[in-house]
């Protein structure tokens, strides 16, 4: 299960709207325990695939090193990634699968249709090696903000 606040959930969906018609991407920092990837922060990353940004994303490894370091300083690990599919379903593609290497991490995809975020899905990359990895549908638990009552 992927657990995140409504604020983070909305932020990663908004990121996809802002970069439309290009794919957005980012890193989910948090903690993993007992089958739950709990997100504490979503860090926006640049999409280096400027040659094909409408249907590709790639995060520069140097940026990942920096984000991992910043997370470590806050006691957080990389627990997942997110990206958008402009005018395409929120379903992992063959490209997403072929280029997924972070076993145990959540891969969150938001479909953005004509600039508006629609479905958001999460897929857990399971397995023990590159050879037996697979994506599994993963439930998303969004913790709603508690509004102050007068």
């Amino acid at each position: 299960m992927l657990k995140l606040s409504e604020t983070i959930y909305n932020a990663l969906r908004k990121h996809g709207e802002e970069t439309y018609p290009h794919e957005c991407c980012g890193v989910l920092l948090g903690r993993s325990h007992e089958g739950v990837n709990e997100v504490v922060d979503a860090v926006r990353a640049g999409n280096t695939r400027t040659d094909s940004a409408h249907n590709r994303y790639h995060i520069a490894p140097q940026e990942l090193v920096r984000i991992q370091r910043q997370g470590r300083e806050r006691g957080l690990d990389i627990v997942g990634f997110y990206h958008s599919h402009p005018d395409h379903p929120a379903q992992w593609s063959k490209t997403d699968f072929a280029e997924a290497h972070w076993l145990g991490c959540s891969y969150v995809i938001t479909a953005v249709e004509k600039g508006a975020a629609k479905q958001t899905n999460s897929f857990l990359l399971t397995g023990t090696t590159e050879e037996d990895k697979s994506f599994e549908d993963e439930a998303i638990q969004v913790e709603e903000l508690v509004a102050e009552r007068c």
Binding site: P61, T95, D96, Y107
Partner: protein, 99 residues
């Protein structure tokens, strides 16, 4: 020096986020790491013994692949290595892996 381990590979290093090794070069550091933790080797290297294409190794903030001496680059105790699998994808059709 310290080698930082990404979350998917920590299971092979007793769940540590970093491993301390004694080494004079990047190559020696990686060898020391896989000698200490042999189960890690197949996740980092292909059957031909080459670093897998999606595994990036950074010496501080520099990609080891682009250093003039690559894995023969000398290291200091205060340096750190980061192992960082690549992250990419997208809704378009599959293409050759980019490094």
């Amino acid at each position: 020096m310290k080698i930082f381990i990404p979350t998917p590979l920590r299971v092979y290093v007793n769940k540590q986020d970093a491993v301390q090794v004694d080494a004079r070069t990047v190559g020696e550091a990686l060898n020391a790491l896989t000698e200490q933790h042999p189960d890690l080797k197949k996740h980092l290297y292909s059957d031909e013994g080459k670093l897998r294409a999606f595994v990036n190794v950074y010496l501080n903030d520099e990609d080891v692949r682009y250093l003039p001496e690559k894995e023969a680059t000398t290291v200091k105790e205060e340096d750190s290595l980061s192992i960082i699998p690549s992250i990419a994808g997208g809704c378009g059709p599959q293409e050759r892996t980019r490094l």
